[in-house]
C-alpha cells in the first residue's frame, strides 16, 4: 500500500518551455515529482528556477510543454523568495487571512501552531512593517503551510535566514513530506543534501541533471563539487 503511494506522481512536467522574446527562460524542462518526497531545484542566478515555480503555481503562462497534476490546483501553494504582506497586519492576521479560503477545514487554533512551528511565537501580534526580511520569510512559510497544501513550492526559503532560521525551516521541510510533496529551489547546496530525496540541476533554463542526490556525488566527490563541475566544468571548491 505504502509502495503504491510512493510511486504516485503528484506532478509531471514534460518539455516545458518559457520564452521572453527570443530568449529562453526555461527550455525543454522535464520533471516527475513523486508523492511524499522533497525535490531540490538547484542552479545559478538566472537559471530559470523562479520562472519554473511561477509557471507551476499558475502565476505565469508556459510557452509550450505539458504540466499535469494528480491533485486539484488549490492543493498547490508557492512560497516566493521575498514574501510580502500588508504591513498594517500582524503575523496572526496574515496567517488567518491565508487560512480564510480553507476556513471550513482548518481551525483557528492552527494559526498559533503554525506560527510556533516557524519560530515567530514572540512576534505573533507584531505588525509586519516591523518585521525583518528573515521574519517575513518565516511568516511566508507559515502562510504557505496553513492551508495544508499537498504540493508545496518553496522558492529559496532560506535565502534571508540566519543559521538557526535555516535549521528550523529545514526541519519543517523534512516534516512536511509526511503529508505533502515539496519542490524546493535553493542556492545552498548543503540544504539540498540535508533534506532532498532527489534533485534537478538547471542552468540557463535547461536541465543539467535529474536524479537522486547521491547519484550526482557518486561517492567520489562531494555534492557541492559535483554540482559545480556540472555547471562550470573544471572548477572545484
Amino acid at each position: 500500500m505504502e509502495k503504491d503511494a510512493i510511486s504516485t506522481a503528484v506532478l509531471e512536467i514534460s518539455n516545458l518551455t518559457k520564452k521572453y522574446g527570443a530568449s529562453f527562460a526555461v527550455e525543454g524542462f522535464n520533471l516527475k515529482l513523486q508523492q511524499g518526497t522533497v525535490h531540490g531545484l538547484v542552479g545559478p542566478n538566472g537559471a530559470g528556477k523562479t520562472t519554473m515555480l511561477s509557471i507551476i503555481s499558475g502565476l505565469r503562462r508556459k510557452t509550450s510543454g505539458e504540466i499535469n497534476f494528480s491533485l486539484p490546483r488549490k492543493e498547490v501553494m508557492l512560497m516566493p523568495d521575498t514574501p510580502d504582506f500588508f504591513g498594517f497586519l500582524t503575523a496572526r492576521q496574515v496567517v488567518d487571512l491565508a487560512r480564510s479560503p480553507f476556513s471550513d477545514d482548518i481551525s483557528e487554533e492552527s494559526i498559533q501552531k503554525v506560527i510556533d512551528d516557524v519560530g515567530l511565537s514572540d512576534s505573533i501580534d507584531q505588525k509586519i512593517q516591523e518585521f525583518s526580511r528573515g521574519m517575513k520569510q518565516r511568516l511566508g512559510l507559515a502562510a504557505t503551510i496553513i492551508g495544508r497544501p499537498k504540493l508545496i513550492l518553496l522558492d529559496e526559503p532560506c535565502s534571508a535566514l540566519d543559521p538557526i532560521g535555516r535549521y528550523d525551516v529545514l526541519e519543517i521541510v523534512t516534516k512536511l513530506k509526511e503529508n505533502a510533496t515539496v519542490l524546493f529551489s535553493t542556492h545552498i547546496l548543503s540544504d539540498v543534501e540535508s533534506v532532498c530525496d532527489s534533485v534537478t540541476v538547471v542552468d540557463h533554463g535547461k536541465t543539467m541533471y535529474e536524479g537522486t542526490v547521491s547519484g550526482l556525488s557518486d561517492g567520489k566527490k562531494s555534492f557541492e563539487n559535483a554540482v559545480l563541475e556540472l555547471l562550470r566544468p573544471g572548477v572545484q571548491l
Binding site: 511561477s54 502565476l59 510580502d84 504582506f85 500588508f86 487571512l97 479560503p101 502562510a143
Partner: protein
C-alpha cells in the same frame, strides 16, 4: 480575517480613509460657510439652502479626486508583485476585484449622501427655504448619479488594468477625466480661429466647433447630471435651472450623448479589465 476586513483596515488604519472622511466633512462645512458669507455680504441676493447644496457639490470635488486616487491605488494590486503573489495564490482575481468594489462603491455613496444630508440639515436651519428642492428631480438626478458611479467603477477598473503601475494607472485616469476636456478646451478656439469663426459667442461654440462637439460626447461628462440633485420646484415651473447663480435651460437629456457613450463603453471596459487581470503574468 478576510479580504473585506483587510480592505477596510487598509483604509482606516492609516491616513487614507480618515482623510477622505475629513475632505467630505470639510466640503460640507465650507459650503455652509460660503453660503453664510455670501448671505452676509450681499443684501440683495438671498442665499437659499439649495445654493448651499450646490456649493457643497463644488467643494466635494477634491474629496472625489482623493477617492479616485485611493480606488486606483487599491485596484492596482499587481503593482506590488510579492503582495500580489500572496493574494492571487489564495483568492481568485474576481474575488479580489469584487471585494474592492464592494468596499469602495458603497463607501463613496455613503460618504456623499451622509455629508450631503448633513449640509441639507444645517442649511435648512440657516438659510432661505422658500424654494424647496423638487423631489422628483432629485430622484431622477440620483438615478443618473448611480449610473455615473457604475461607469466610474468600470473606468477605474479599466485604467487600473491597463498598467501594472499605480502611478501610470492614476495618470491615465486623470488624462481621461481632465486631459481630454482640457485638450478640447485648447483646440476649440484654435479650430474656430482657423475657420475664421473666433468672433462667435462662446455660448454657440458647442454648436459650431467640431472639437467642442466631440467633447459633447465625452463619457465622463455624464457626471454633470449631478446638477439635477438641486433643481427646485420654481425652476421646474420656469423650465430653467440656476447653477451657481447662472441660469440654463432645464433639459433632462442635456447629457444624453455622454450617457449613451458611457452605457456602451462601461461593459467593454469591464470586459477588457477582466481579460487583462486574468491573463496578466505575475
Amino acid at each position: 480575517m478576510n479580504l473585506w476586513k483587510v480592505e477596510l483596515l487598509q483604509l482606516f488604519r492609516g491616513w487614507r480613509g480618515w482623510t477622505l472622511v475629513f475632505l467630505f466633512l470639510l466640503a460640507s462645512i465650507l459650503a455652509v460657510l460660503i453660503g453664510f458669507l455670501i448671505d452676509r455680504s450681499n443684501a440683495s441676493e438671498v442665499v437659499g439652502y439649495v445654493e448651499v447644496l450646490e456649493f457643497y457639490m463644488l467643494c466635494s470635488i477634491p474629496a472625489g479626486f482623493l477617492f479616485i486616487g485611493l480606488v486606483v491605488s487599491s485596484m492596482s494590486f499587481d503593482s506590488n508583485q510579492n503582495l500580489s503573489i500572496f493574494l492571487r495564490l489564495r483568492f481568485s482575481f474576481q474575488k479580489i476585484l469584487l471585494t474592492k468594489l464592494g468596499v469602495y462603491v458603497p463607501l463613496s455613496e455613503i460618504l456623499f449622501l451622509s455629508t450631503f444630508g448633513l449640509t441639507f440639515l444645517v442649511s435648512i436651519l440657516m438659510f432661505d427655504t422658500s424654494d424647496p428642492i423638487s423631489f422628483k428631480w432629485f430622484v431622477f438626478g440620483y438615478l443618473f448619479r448611480i449610473f455615473g458611479s457604475i461607469f466610474w467603477v468600470c473606468l477605474i477598473t479599466f485604467t487600473s488594468a491597463v498598467f501594472k503601475s499605480t502611478v501610470a494607472s492614476l495618470l491615465l485616469t486623470l488624462a481621461i477625466i481632465f486631459g481630454f476636456p482640457i485638450l478640447v478646451g485648447v483646440a476649440t478656439p484654435i479650430e474656430l480661429a482657423a475657420r475664421g469663426l473666433l468672433e462667435t459667442s462662446p455660448n454657440e461654440w458647442e454648436e459650431i466647433s467640431y472639437a467642442a462637439k466631440i467633447n459633447d460626447w465625452w463619457p465622463t461628462n455624464v457626471s454633470d447630471t449631478d446638477t439635477f440633485l438641486t433643481v427646485t420646484d420654481s425652476e421646474v415651473v420656469a423650465n430653467k435651472h440656476s447653477v451657481y447663480f447662472e441660469d440654463t435651460e432645464l433639459d433632462p437629456w442635456f447629457r444624453l450623448k455622454p450617457f449613451i457613450i458611457s452605457l456602451c463603453l462601461a461593459p467593454l471596459m469591464m470586459l477588457y479589465a477582466l481579460r487583462t487581470y486574468s491573463r496578466r503574468e505575475i
